[in-house]
Structure formats: structure tokens, C-alpha cells
Symmetry: C2
Subunit: 185 residues, 2 copies
């Protein structure tokens, strides 16, 4: 259901097509949410049936026709209701940590390589996060008010803080392996 509200949230700023929404997801909220193209279309179809959004068909000469979606009053009400609810606290799920949990089975050299790989990935992700702020104007210029931008930057701030914590963790593990502080089997 989260995708529903993410879509409603963006459509509440401005009408968009499924194709637009896919691009917006991939650029503005990609640090905490991803959306598959086919699922966006399917969700929009369902939400149209449910009366949460309206479709406006726009014919184009040079390109395929667009279906632009608008929030209805019901959709807007559903969004505001949901925003008022306590946040949907989900269970943490981290597949990589399953590897960490059991990787005592491997020799230290392999473990070290694994953590150095992870640390490099995290440094790259942090670099990518630095580039996000510039993208909201390009891909969702309708999110223009200082207040909207503020809350958007809050999510990015959390992403950066979390990723830094992860990186510090990985670096501390690397240190411990190099110093021979990992117990032997």
C-alpha cells in the first residue's frame, strides 16, 4: 500500500503520467524507495477503479499518447488520513547481514575482501547522495515550496546518516580483521 501513498503524494503536487512517475521515483526518492515500471502502471489502474485518481488522455503527434493522472478529492482525503496516522513501522530486513551473520565459515581473507567491497559500495552511494539535491528541480519542478523541499531533504539527511553509520561499521570491522582481533574457529 505504500506505493499508493507515494503516488498520491506526488500527484497531489502535480498531475503526472505513469512514465513521469517512474522517472520521479528514480531520481527524487530513490534513496528510500524504488518502484517497478509495471507496478506503477498497475497501481494507477487500480487506483483509478477505486476513484482515488482520474485519468486525462492527452494525444500527442510526435509521441505516443499520454495518460495523465489527477488526484480526486477522495484520493486527497486518503493521503491526508494516512499522513496523520503513526508511521508504518516495518520489520528491518537486510539480506547482506545474513551473509555477515554466517560468514565465520569463511577464511579471514575472504571476509576482509567482502567488507572492503561493502565499504567501497557505501562510499559510492554516499557520493551519489550528494548529487540528489540538484535533481528535484529537473524531474519534479512542481515540488517548489521551501516546506516541501525541507521534508524532502530530511529523508536525504537520514539516508546519509544511516549510510555513514554503515560505513563506519564496515571500516571498524576491516580494522579488526587487519589487527587480527577476529577469533579463530
Amino acid at each position: 500500500m505504500s506505493l499508493d501513498y507515494a503516488i498520491l503524494g506526488f500527484l497531489n503536487y502535480h498531475p503526472y503520467s505513469g512514465y513521469d512517475l517512474k522517472k520521479i521515483f528514480d531520481t527524487t526518492v530513490q534513496h528510500f524507495w524504488s518502484a517497478d515500471q509495471s507496478q506503477i502502471y498497475r497501481t494507477l489502474a487500480r487506483m483509478t477503479e477505486q476513484g482515488l485518481v482520474d485519468v486525462e488522455k492527452i494525444a500527442q503527434d510526435d509521441r505516443p499518447d499520454r495518460k495523465v493522472y489527477h488526484v480526486t478529492e477522495a484520493g486527497r482525503a486518503a493521503l491526508l488520513d494516512w499522513l496523520s496516522e503513526p508511521p508504518p513501522m516495518q520489520a528491518n530486513r537486510s539480506a547482506p547481514l545474513i551473509q555477515v551473520f554466517f560468514c565465520g565459515q569463511l577464511p579471514d581473507d575472504d571476509v576482509l575482501a567482502k567488507f572492503e567491497y561493502v565499504a567501497d559500495l557505501m562510499r559510492e552511494i554516499l557520493k551519489r547522495y550528494d548529487q540528489i539535491p540538484g535533481q528535484i528541480d529537473i524531474h519534479a519542478p512542481e515540488i517548489a515550496s521551501p516546506r516541501e523541499r525541507y521534508f524532502w531533504l530530511l529523508t536525504l539527511d537520514l539516508g546519509i546518516r544511516t549510510m555513514r553509520a554503515n560505513l563506519e561499521w564496515a571500516e571498524s570491522v576491516i580494522e579488526q580483521i587487519k589487527n587480527g582481533q577476529v577469533p579463530k574457529a
Copy 2:
């Protein structure tokens, strides 16, 4: 597929039943993985067909019969192969952050209440993390080697670091709201 390897990892320490595994998941790795009971049983059934595990039926007088699962050689090989692979970096998905992203729609008081609720939840989770170390002996005493414990504590360390970062973030947001630093619509 992650659940497969988590199950293989535990069965590689010791044979367990589905019921045992459910309890172990809920106590030892609950800070980064949860498993539904029905899915554990279904996964064990599939893995038996695939030859990754073997079943041993144990009749009990006072209680229903148990089906205790053992890792096969193929299962052990699959586990070690997977542990050697680069960690399966998944997309971050955070439903609560969708609320944060769009909650500029709400008045500051509601936003403040939301973040105080989140901060309280995180403090509770941090308290719960403190109690995890004692539980591994009770619910999975077979994970006894210092090396295994070390990697297990690494996952807990990351959970604590991440949760602390989240809490600091929430507290900084609360400060900003109280100081009137959030832009008005």
C-alpha cells in the same frame, strides 16, 4: 532466496525443526530478519525436494511428532558458495520515509507528534537490542564458538549504530520543529 541461506546457515550449526527455526529467528536475528512460520515450513519443504536438506521424523509421546531437518552435502556447498559471493545489495525501502517526504502537508504540531512517536519507538528498540546478547545461549546454544559469536555480534553492532543514527536524526528534527526552523507553506 535469502531465507534459504539463513535456514541453511542455522542448520549447518545443528539440525532443527521448523518450529525450532521460527523461535531461533525470532530471538537471534530478529534485528535484521523476520520469518513467517508458514514460509519457514514451505521453504523447508521446497529445500527438501531440491536436496539441500534431509528430513528426520521423530515421534514423540507427549507432543506432536517433529520433523528435524539436516543439511545435506549439496546444501552445505550451496551455503558456502553463497557466502563467498558479493553481498546481495538490495534497494533500501522505507515506508515510514514516504510519510516524512510528504508530511509537509500536515501542521507542525502533527509533525512534531509523529517524530516524537518515532523517537520513542527507536529508544525502545535500542533497549531491546541490549537484551539480545543473552538470548543466543538460550535459543541456539549450538552457536557456541567465539568466532560464530563474533560475527553474530557484528550484525547487532550494525543494528545499534543504525538505530542510533536514526534516533539522532529524529531528535534533530524535533529540535528544529521546536525552534521554529521548519519553513512554512
